[in-house]
């Protein structure tokens, strides 16, 4: 076993700023979601009714109401998931980058891990915001596909890779390499 460092090291200030800014944005997002719930729902409904083809609206209330209701529920879910993931990933960025700054000796590897976990962790929750924003205009599934390929997969993938690299470094330190 190698000796543990006596103190935690901090990553660059911009990394910490990203972490706390993400948490702050998630808090604001959660509060705004609750405060403007009705206005947001009305906005989604109006945008959907203006684009019936994008949502497969058929012009019969008993059919269309269910489609609109599902979209509003998913829109709201996207905002909630941004709120939850923003708070969670903000903490992940702060903690994981401190672990990397403290335990990863290789400067290049440290930069990669800190860069990936910060950019990936900050970008991933924004995918839920993008998804919510796209729902009224492109529908649930098309919006999801765009958010997936534009944000969730690249940013989420970067964060996951960074966490596995960090796991490997910590495991290697434990066995004394």
């Amino acid at each position: 076993m190698t000796a543990r460092p006596e103190t935690w090291r901090l990553p660059a200030m911009w990394v910490l700023l990203v972490g706390v800014l993400l948490i702050a944005s998630a808090e604001v997002g959660g509060a705004a979601m609750a405060r403007f719930k009705l206005e947001l729902a009305r906005g989604v409904r109006a945008a959907m009714l203006a684009r019936p083809d994008a949502h497969g609206l058929v012009g019969v209330r008993d059919v269309d109401e269910q489609i609109i209701d599902e979209a509003i529920v998913k829109f709201d879910a996207g905002l909630r998931l941004f709120h939850l993931h923003g708070e969670g990933m903000g903490v992940v960025i702060l903690v994981a980058t401190m672990v990397a700054a403290t335990l990863v000796h290789s400067a290049a590897l440290r930069r990669v891990i800190i860069g990936f976990v910060t950019v990936g962790g900050a970008g991933y929750p924004a995918g839920y915001l993008v998804w919510s924003a796209l729902i009224p205009y492109y529908g649930i599934e098309r919006g999801k596909t765009v958010a997936e390929w534009l944000i969730w997969i690249p940013f989420g993938g970067a964060a996951i890779i960074a966490m596995w690299l960090l796991t490997a470094v910590v495991a290697a330190r434990m066995v004394g390499r």
């Binding site: 497969g56 058929v58 019969v60 008993d62 269910q66 998913k74 989420g156 993938g157 890779i161």
Partner: protein, 208 residues
Amino acid sequence: MSGMWSLASTLLVLGLAAPALGHHVGSYTPRDNEVSANFKQLKFSIQAGRFDVARRLYDTGALRRELQAQSARLPAGLDEDIRAALQRGDGREAERGFMVFFVALVRDLALEADRQVSDPATAVQARAAAGRKFLDAIWRYYNLIDFALSQRDPKASADMRLAFDEAEGYLKPGPAPALDRVRQPLQQMARILTDVIQASSSSARRES
């Protein structure tokens, strides 16, 4: 050798990142609309023998508003029949009235579905998607009164279910939905339900 390492590293990285595909986006459970919610309140009030509550729920509820709005397409005097049944505490007759109302809604949905799936101006996949949405709406309403219908006319209930299953089968998501074939079960649903309305209305007239 280094090529092998690069390939292995790339596959490892892709494998590690693969969970990013598995993000969750929540689930959706269809909710009652105000008409079906009002119907359930009415049904439970009647089952509990609380006709005073049922009358109030009917007089002030969304079901009656909708019934009055659709009165031109419903048997004459349906609203008065339901109110009179609730007034005299006749749960079975009130249930018949509600059944006729929902059967008429479902029939209209089936007719509109038939019209839209056969509209050549719309793309095939869009027509199939619309057809599936109509079937969802049909089932949401029909499911509310299937038991009541099966008690009064078991054959109509069974035929309706068979026609629904057949239509659902033709509209399953896939490269080639059978739009030409789905019209038959949709039209059959409309016929079955028209017969139910006529039979139910004439039996009500006989009993009054």
